[in-house]
């Protein structure tokens, strides 16, 4: 019991700085749900044959540094939502991040053998990562009147959005008498849509204290997109161009997921995986919007004979920047994710897990941590997971997967309390799916899991 408490305490400490979309809770469904191979390729499904119902496996996660009620605020006395930059500013930190991850498992076919497992899968995924500094929100909320005579620096602003589909195969094999399991997946990733700002983009605006003239500085002011012109201006293209593009295009690359799990002791298992190793070269439908590095001062316009002042102001500012649009291919790395976990099995039915997650985005690797507990029951596996993000928001996750028969239902959430006043949370996520499972436990040895209570 003491060991249990120690492990739980250790897990809770680790959650103190949890960040980014880790799908910790979904991870805990492990061998029971074959789609967890997208997080850990070394998982071997319990069932011999697995078929995911097409389109019936979806997941989404939205996570930000503000609560939902900050984004969808309600003015005093109103029941309707609005987006109020003042509220968002109040919630803003020095650096703020928001990310969205949407996955749809279109197809998954798994087959388990004595020595491992094979899988064939197809997914559609989309990710959006946004990072902005407090000063950008300050500008949006209050304009620049509160910062006259100083420079507002927007250099921390980052944006990257990707949408792609992936088709691949996976293979998992046991070694060392099943103490070591290594898995890998190779997949063809086809980029569909992309939008990003240069990771080194810097921008600033300073307002002169006397005449309010703006000095606007831009460095590395470039943005890349792919597929968006086709999406937005579809009418300018021939029929079926968009459809053909979505089906197959040249923004294709080979990517890998690899993972391993090792049974250190009978009751202790460690795992590691790295997913989405690869780089997409966007060669079809690329667009590059580039602005010359420079600092310009806008002092207004010549008022003599001024007509159509709106256009004149716009033209005056634009004329100070030299920009161009090119169609050069560019590369973006997939947002690589990595998991490291250690699981302690307290008997056959209880598992405590401490895990770490990292995700690379904007050239930085961010780490998250979690601690969880899962209980295997006769017909279900259920689990609880705790996380505390940024020291302010404690999330309790839960997961559930049926283990009844050929039809499997699963649901996992890192923040299971979100339905109780969801406006107070900054993280919304779920994984849900239906699978057809056959040959349950056919290759599973009786003593595969050690019951620690019996030791």
């Amino acid at each position: 019991m003491k060991r249990t408490l120690l492990i739980i305490s250790f897990a809770m400490v680790l959650t103190a700085s949890a960040h980014a979309q880790a799908y910790f809770s979904f991870y805990q469904l492990r061998e029971l749900v074959p789609q967890t191979q997208s997080l850990q390729p070394a998982f071997i499904p319990n069932n011999t044959f697995t078929l995911a119902l097409p389109g019936a496996n979806v997941g989404a996660a939205l996570q930000a540094d503000f609560q939902l009620q900050d984004l969808l605020s309600k003015p005093d006395g109103s029941i309707d939502f609005t987006v109020d930059f003042d509220v968002l500013l109040e919630a803003a930190q020095d650096v703020n991040q928001m990310n969205l991850d949407v996955s749809s498992h279109l197809f998954h076919l798994g087959y388990k053998t004595k020595k491992g497992a094979y899988s064939l899968f197809a997914n559609v995924r989309a990710t959006v990562d946004l990072q902005y500094g407090r000063e950008l929100m300050e500008f949006l909320a209050n304009g620049n009147s509160n910062n006259i005579g100083v420079t507002m620096d927007f250099s921390g602003t980052r944006l990257q959005a990707n949408a792609y589909h992936e088709i691949g195969i996976g293979y998992t094999r046991k070694f060392l008498g099943e103490r070591l399991i290594i898995g890998g997946r190779i997949k063809q990733v086809t980029g569909l849509f992309h939008g990003s700002l240069n990771e080194n983009a810097m921008g600033s605006i300073s307002t002169d204290a006397l005449d309010y003239s703006w000095t606007i500085g831009v460095q590395n002011g470039s943005a890349n997109t792919a597929g968006l012109d086709l999406l937005i201006n579809n009418d300018d293209y021939a029929d079926n161009t968009l459809q053909n593009y979505l089906t197959s295009n040249e923004n294709s690359t080979i990517a890998f997921d690899i993972g391993a799990k090792f049974k250190v002791m009978d009751w202790l298992e460690v795992e590691a995986s790295i997913n989405d190793i690869g780089t997409i070269e966007w060669t079809e439908q690329p667009r590059n919007y580039n602005t010359e590095d420079r600092s310009v001062t806008f002092s207004g316009v010549q008022l003599r004979g001024l007509e159509n002042s709106g256009d004149v102001f716009k033209d005056s500012i634009e004329s100070k920047f030299s920009s161009n649009e090119t169609q050069l291919s560019f590369e973006t790395k997939l947002p690589t994710r990595a998991y490291v976990s250690a699981s302690a099995y307290m008997g056959k039915k209880n598992r405590f897990t401490a895990m770490a997650f990292s995700r690379s985005v904007f050239g930085e690797t961010k780490f998250s941590y979690a601690g969880g507990y899962n209980r295997t029951l006769k017909y279900f596996t259920v689990g609880l997971l705790g996380s505390l993000r940024d020291g302010s928001e404690f999330n309790v996750g839960a997961n559930l997967a049926s283990d009844i028969g050929p039809l499997q239902v699963y649901l996992a959430m890192d923040n299971a309390l979100v339905m109780n006043k969801p406006e107070r949370y900054s993280k919304l996520d779920f994984r849900f799916g239906l699978n057809l499972m056959f040959g349950y436990k056919r290759w599973k040895a009786k003593s595969e899991v050690v019951d620690l209570d019996e030791l």
Binding site: I79, D80, D86, S145, S213, F380
Partner: protein
């Protein structure tokens, strides 16, 4: 088995309990309302620069032109034209006729033989004039020369009239009229167009040089028959007449006579922008430019030059410049058709012209008399049909002045009310970089279409006069910042305004000390406009 089922059930209940502990009150009945963006933006609007010329062009209602004088000082100029009567109105050849007769001088009573008797006589007439003109020659361009003859003689007569004063222009020969007067047809009439002749009136019948004389030689031959009876007193009468005579050029002495010059009122619209007092120009100049096409000098008498001030006060022009008639030179006979220009300048040293402008006159009245040969005929005169006296008046007001507490006002259309809909608070900042030696406090009155004041921005300094150095030029630009704030209520008030009355209280540098400043043309007033705007931009969410 039962224990296992219970555990399954409890575990499920815990998980579903967590999931089902729903409280979605925040989202109940909620829709996306209007998105409201309410930043406060400090923006540079722009700048506008005024040179002195442009600034006073703005104040001027187009009556004046704004330029620079030789010292590069900005000058307001008004030009008005006065014109004399035409030459034909000034000088006219009167309709006139001369009648004479020549007696036969012989008594004949049936002489029984045929013979001829010649009779001849030269006649001298004075041209009739309106006054004391003495014409030497008239180059006619129209009119009639009529001649009639009547014989009392009891015989046929053959006559020849030579009009020495009318020379055929093409040949130079005098006009000769011949004819016969019979007993059956004793009368004879003739008509000639004067347009073909030049009148020469410079000799008398004795060949002496004179003026204004018309010479006619009359000669006739009496054809005597054996039965002719003639008394020595029987006459052949004739009458010559000039009617509707028109001239191209007249030479001689036109004498002393008045030339009517039209009355003129100069509207000094510039001053309409200002209040009654507070501005004094130091060196204004009225320049009268006379373009004289008449062939005689003119004496100019400024019968009346006076200004009417903004409050109706009248100031008459006085001074040495107008005490004596001004002599305007004339072209000589070698320059018929040309003009000679003379200029008379009225300035602060020879007149009280500064006083005329000190009342900020709306109008200046100018009435001028012109008189020919004011000092006698010192120059051979001529009048050409195209001769004219043009008088142009240039009112030049160099901006060398003292302005002290001068109130100026200007109206400006205001059609930006619709643009203020999303503004909740505005602070307009006016930054004046002023090289001019004049400063101003500004008050703004926003008025609606009926002229009612809907909001007033109280008077405040907007630009300050630049300091003046020893050379009369400003030494540096002064920078003045003025903020004009509008609250939400005030913005709502001016949304309905249609025009702005701008009231400026102006003073030149060191005006209270009486200093006079000069406005050089390279001075500039640069206004930079900026604004802090608290806006509320709403986008409907439904």
């Amino acid at each position: 088995m039962k224990r296992g089922l219970l555990k399954n059930f409890l575990a499920l209940m815990i998980v579903f309990g967590m999931l089902s502990a729903c409280n979605l009150d925040y989202f109940r009945d909620a829709e996306f309302g209007d998105f409201v963006w309410d930043p406060s933006l400090a923006v540079p609007i722009g700048e506008i620069s005024y040179s002195i010329e442009e600034l006073f062009d703005e104040l001027n209602d187009a009556g004046a032109s704004v330029g620079t004088n030789n010292d590069n000082i900005v000058t307001l100029s008004y030009t008005e034209a006065l014109q004399s009567q035409t030459a034909s109105a000034f000088l006219a050849v009167l309709d006139q006729s001369f009648a004479s007769g020549i007696q036969s001088g012989v008594d004949i009573n049936s002489p029984g033989v045929s013979s001829t008797i010649d009779v001849q006589e030269t006649f001298e007439y004075d041209l009739s004039q309106r006054s004391g003109e003495l014409y030497d020659s008239i180059f006619f361009s129209g009119g009639d020369f009529d001649v009639s003859f009547a014989s009392q003689l009891g015989a046929d007569v053959d006559f020849t009239m030579t009009v020495n004063s009318l020379r055929e222009r093409s040949t130079g020969n005098p006009l000769v009229i011949t004819g016969s007067l019979t007993q059956g047809s004793p009368n004879f009439n003739a008509n000639n167009s004067l347009a073909d002749f030049d009148g020469i009136f410079v000799e008398d019948a004795l060949g002496n040089a004179t003026s204004n004389k018309v010479l006619v030689e009359m000669a006739y031959t009496i054809n005597v028959t054996p039965t002719t009876v003639i008394s020595s007193t029987d006459r052949v009468n004739f009458t010559i007449g000039l009617t509707n005579a028109e001239f191209q050029t007249v030479y001689g002495d036109v004498g002393t006579g008045g030339l009517d010059v039209n009355f003129q009122v100069v509207n000094l619209d510039f001053f309409r922008n200002f209040d009654a007092t507070g501005i004094r120009f130091s060196e204004p100049v009225f320049s009268f430019v006379f373009d004289n096409g008449f062939g005689f000098p003119l004496g100019i008498d400024f019968r009346n030059i006076s200004s009417i001030g903004s409050e109706g006060q009248i100031v008459d022009l006085t001074g040495t410049a107008i005490d004596n008639p001004t002599i305007v030179a004339a072209p000589t006979t070698e320059n018929v058709g040309g003009v000679v220009q003379s200029t008379l300048e009225l300035n602060s040293t020879n007149s009280n012209i500064a006083d005329l402008l000190a009342v900020q006159p709306r109008k200046v009245i100018m009435e001028v008399n012109a008189e020919s040969n004011p000092t006698g005929t010192n120059q051979y005169n001529f009048v050409d049909v195209n001769s004219l006296l043009d008088v142009s008046v240039n009112v030049d007001i160099p901006l060398i002045m003292n302005v002290d507490n001068l109130i100026a006002e200007e109206f400006m259309d205001f059609d930006n009310g619709g643009d203020l809909e999303e503004a909740r608070r505005l602070v307009f900042r006016v930054i004046a970089d002023n090289e001019l030696p004049i400063g101003g406090d500004i008050e703004l009155e926003f008025q609606d279409a009926q002229g009612a004041v809907v909001h007033t921005v109280s008077e405040r300094p907007v630009f300050s006069g630049a300091p003046v150095g020893s050379d009369g030029r400003t030494t540096e630009a002064t920078v003045t910042t003025a903020d004009i704030e509008f609250s939400n209520e005030e913005i709502r008030a001016i949304e309905g305004a249609t025009r702005v009355r701008i009231i400026a209280r102006l003073a030149t540098t060191n005006a209270t000390s009486g200093d006079v400043v000069r406005f050089f043309s390279d001075y500039e007033l640069k206004l930079r406009l900026a604004a802090q705007a608290d806006v509320e931009i709403g986008v409907s969410g439904n």
